[in-house]
């Protein structure tokens, strides 16, 4: 296998926005969690916010850092969305929001069995169900990636909406509207929790699991080996071949 044939998977703009987004998202997760000082509300208790506040020089600075990075993150996204709407964004949304239930439910079940038990055990388990030990072919994104992306996009929208309500409370809201701020905090927390769970799986799949190693590398170089595309994203590969 000398110098395998490579195919383009990610544009430079896509790679940039992904890592920019990931960096901001981590910062926001770790500062946001530290904004919850109340030990009855913070899943980690009081030690974590205390430690982070010591680094930032107090809770008030931490709060400014959190919403400032959130605004920068959003501003960059808005530019990216307008600038790349037809070229990157629309195709991305098209491919992530197109699930085919039959194929994709089967893929999700089998992939999870394979990830936890291995191909051999999975083959034994699914035989009685009339499946073979094989995963249904996938498009540019597999079903797991699609679901993760959908969850992350919707989570991000909820985080943005509730975040703005909290940010605006101090500037525009009257005492009678503060119930909205209170529920925004609770919902912001839930959305952050759910997306964190999704991202744990995402990061495992992308950075740790061996099968997806070529995809991980492609998030830096932009290309994957044709062999990888053929086995992991067969439908996408065939589409490229037809062109």
């Amino acid at each position: 296998m000398s110098s395998p044939k490579m195919i383009q998977r990610h544009t430079r703009a896509g790679i940039f926005i992904h890592w920019f987004n990931a960096a901001c998202w981590f910062f926001l997760l770790f500062t946001g969690l530290a904004l919850i000082q109340n030990p009855e509300l913070n899943p980690l208790g009081a030690w974590y916010p205390k430690a982070v506040r010591a680094v930032f020089g107090g809770g008030a600075n931490l709060l400014v850092a959190h919403w400032l990075v959130a605004l920068i993150w959003l501003a960059v996204w808005v530019v990216y969305l307008f600038w790349g709407m037809s070229r990157f964004v629309a195709p991305f949304l098209n491919s992530t929001f197109s699930l085919e239930p039959n194929r994709d439910i089967q893929w999700m079940i089998k992939k999870n069995l394979q990830m936890t038990l291995g191909y051999k055990m999975m083959a034994k388990l699914v035989k009685p169900l009339g499946y073979d030990g094989h995963l249904p072919p996938q498009e540019y994104y597999n079903a797991g990636q699609k679901l993760a992306a959908q969850g992350i996009i919707m989570g991000a929208l909820v985080l943005i909406g509730t975040g703005f309500i909290m940010l605006f409370s101090k500037y525009f809201f009257s005492a009678a509207d503060t119930w909205l701020v209170q529920w925004s905090m609770t919902v912001h927390f839930i959305a952050a929790g759910v997306t964190t769970a999704l991202l744990m799986v995402h990061i495992y799949m992308a950075a740790i699991s061996k099968e997806e190693r070529p995809a991980f590398i492609s998030m830096f170089t932009g290309t994957v080996p044709a062999e990888y595309a053929k086995h992991h994203h067969q439908l996408w590969y065939e589409e490229l071949e037809e062109k």
Binding site: N38, G59, M115, T116, Y171, V181, I190, V201, E238
Partner: protein, 252 residues
Amino acid sequence: MAKQLGMVVDAGLCIDCKGCMAACKVANEVPGDNWRNWIKSGDMDWQAKKRGRMVFQPGNCMQCDKPTCVSACPTGATYKSKADGVVVIDRGLCIGCGQCIKACPYGARFRNEKLKVADKCDFCSSRRAVGLEPACVSTCPTKARAFGDLNDPASPAGKLMAQSKDKATQVVNAQSNTDPNIYYLGDAGLKSWPVKAQMPGAFEFWKNLADPAVKVVVGLTGLGVLAMLGKQLMLKNDAPPPEEHGEEGGHE
């Protein structure tokens, strides 16, 4: 004993002149309809044969030992100072959610109309910083309010506490006793007005449902990822079924 600033009030001396309320409003730039302190009084029973004396009860945030406002604050913007026992609000950290306002049995808190953050009495921290007493204490013509470290017999309030420990009473709602640090000498007058402390619905939902649910979801996901990692480390050569894998190439 730790320092605990507080007040010992002789309601019998109060003449309802409301000088303390005006002085506070000016000293702390309290806007519009907002007030940091109050005078409570019951209704006089004008029909009664033998009319009692009207008692006026001056008050403000009680800098409680078990402050429900602090328990309600998500960010820690409201906290009880370790240095002097005053419950303070960090205006930079306060996001103006108003949870603490609902949680105070005394209605001592309000949303500052101008700043749109939580506000309340802090025993005039800016005046104390330059060595002055709280404005209400200085201004009171009958000296109904005594101020100072309740645990220090050398302070005006501490002296009264030491002298009349058993006579000094707190005004509390039995269902949510926050152990307030304003004590009243003799007859405090109206006692039934503090309400039961209430946490907002969003707070209860977060504490009782959202927090455990997020812990479970993130925890189980973490376990799932660890299981996959374990499998990855144990089954080093896990390949898809070979025959079918070979066939795959045939599509081209």
